[in-house]
């Protein structure tokens, strides 16, 4: 007899197996049979992701984003434009936010990477994750992991005194306010237009009025 549990499938599982099937059929002929010319260069790399050490041997072309998603199966980090324009791929490296699509995995040998999976869990949300839920800071959710990673880093940058374009006095310490949040989040696009709720969520975490 087949139990309900045996039939349980998740959207993620369907997507993952579908992607795998496509990946196999789209491999270039050279991946199965020897082709003239040199094979793509590969190199080993070791870094820490969400507190765990990982070691991979990768095609040198692999971006940090693809290493996270395709090799480590950490699919929380999203690929949007793949050109550093949308911010969906934002992760924290050694505490600083970067576009993981515009960085080779090899550049991160020895680094500490934090993805949305490392910020909080469904049982123990990061305060920013909880605030995004409370303030409805998303609709489709695709940009949300990048928005949250960026938002966490923005509040740290303000605390550290990193200046911004909207400061009247560039020598003054910046303060977390609506204009500051919006300026500093301009590298994260949301096509659903949840911006005002994202700013509310950030203000809540920062303990200021939006």
């Amino acid at each position: 007899m087949i139990g309900v549990g045996d039939l349980a499938i998740s959207r993620r599982g369907v997507l993952a197996s579908g992607t795998a099937a496509i990946a196999i059929t789209s491999l270039p002929a050279g991946a199965q049979e020897p082709m003239p010319g040199k094979p793509p260069a590969t190199m080993p790399v070791a870094f820490e992701v969400n507190g765990k050490g990982v070691e991979l041997t990768l095609d040198t072309r692999t971006t940090l984003l693809d290493a996270l998603r395709e090799h480590l199966k950490l699919t929380g980090t999203k690929k949007g434009c793949d050109h550093g324009q949308c911010g969906a791929c934002t992760v924290l490296v050694n505490g600083q936010r970067i576009n993981s699509c515009l960085s080779l995995a090899l550049q991160h040998h020895g680094d500490k990477v934090t993805t949305i999976e490392g910020l909080g869990t469904p049982d123990k949300l990061h305060p920013m994750q909880a605030a995004f839920i409370k303030h409805d800071g998303y609709q489709c959710g695709y940009c949300t992991p990048g928005q949250i990673c960026s938002a966490v880093a923005v509040l740290e940058e303000i605390k550290a005194g990193v200046p911004s374009h909207v400061q009247g006095d560039i020598t003054a310490r910046p303060k977390a306010g609506n204009l500051e949040m919006r300026e500093r989040m301009s590298g994260n696009l949301c096509r659903c237009g949840a911006y005002s709720n994202i700013a509310d969520a950030m203000a809540d975490v920062a303990g200021v009025r939006a």
């Binding site: 050109h83 934002t90 990193v162 919006r182 300026e183 590298g187």
Partner: protein, 316 residues
């Protein structure tokens, strides 16, 4: 992306030698521009020399009363540095007017200087572009030219230098220090660093193959009020249509460089003394010989108005 090999040398000299000795090699610093272009196969290096382990990541005071900025100081670190914010405010302001927080965390001082144009025809590999493919023609001339150059351009190329940081460096009389593969060093005034296109628009700057930027030097602080006024299609995270970097003294003496207008930060020192008495005449001198297109001729009056806005703020 084309396949490439990769290494991480430990010293500037090793890095310069590695690029000089390998055909098709390039330096990799933050990678925010290079990787973008590699994905589009506009850049196709066969070997990358990642310079992140060679030091050059500090800002130091110089004996002359200025500062020496390491090539690998990130845009964020440079803009946030206390000395830079207090004594070279135009530089902090220019940096935070560009890109996004994520990009500024990764982008470096040297990489910012040698970033490539954002001309849409340079990026579209289906179109002719003399900068991307020498001799193929220029689709921008007679095409969509609104964001492109009005002066210093040529019949082969009307692309602009896209950055903000270098426009501020130009008013500050910065210089660029380099090391070559044979260990020799040289200092290049920022005014001479970026090239005008002429009939070789594929060469953006005067660096030789394997020549590595090690520092950017700033002379002693100028004092005065510092401004970076950037006019663009969005309030944030967009390249400049026109930008104005200005340092204005208490007596009204003005240094000014313009971004978004030319293949390099545009400054004409000889016109600056006249700015106090007759701005229109001085601006005519600064943009003498301009060859704008129908679509981008608005940039010249816009530049004058942007400067007027800045000088009004300086007086207030």
């Amino acid at each position: 992306m084309k396949s490439f090999t990769y290494e991480r040398p430990k010293t500037p000299a090793e890095a310069a030698a590695a690029v000089a000795s390998t055909q098709g090699a390039k330096f990799l610093a933050g990678g925010t521009n290079l990787l973008d272009l590699m994905k589009l196969e506009i850049e196709t290096p066969t070997h990358l020399v990642d310079v992140q382990d060679i030091g050059l990541d500090r800002i130091e005071a110089t004996n002359g009363g200025g500062i020496r900025i390491g090539a690998l100081v990130t845009n964020t670190a440079l803009a946030a540095d206390k000395r830079v914010r207090e004594d070279y405010g135009v530089l902090s302001r220019a940096i935070v007017a560009g890109a996004s927080g994520q990009l500024r965390n990764k982008a470096t001082t040297a990489g910012n200087l040698i970033q490539r144009t954002r001309c849409p025809y340079f990026y579209d590999t289906n179109m002719a572009c003399n900068k991307r493919k020498p001799g193929s023609g220029c689709s921008a001339i007679g095409g969509f030219s609104r964001p492109l150059g009005v002066i210093g351009t040529s019949d082969a190329c009307i692309a602009t230098y896209p950055g903000d940081m270098a426009v501020a460096l130009r008013v500050l009389d910065a210089s660029v220090a380099t090391v070559k593969a044979d260990g020799t060093t040289r200092t290049i005034p920022i005014a001479d660093f970026h090239r005008l296109p002429g009939d070789t628009p594929h060469i953006d700057n005067v660096l030789e193959r394997g020549e590595l930027i090690t520092h950017v030097d700033l002379p002693r602080p100028l004092g005065g009020k510092h401004f970076y006024h950037k006019v663009r299609d969005r309030a944030s995270y967009a390249f400049a249509l026109v930008s104005v970097a200005a340092v204005i003294g208490r007596d009204g003496t003005t240094r000014v460089a313009f971004g978004g207008m030319a293949p390099k930060p545009w400054r004409v020192e000889a016109a600056e003394p006249a700015l106090r008495e007759d701005r229109a005449a001085a601006m005519a001198k600064i943009f003498a010989g301009a060859r704008p297109t129908e679509e981008n001729k608005f940039k010249i009056p816009l530049a004058e108005r942007a400067l007027a806005s800045v000088t009004a703020q300086a007086r207030s």
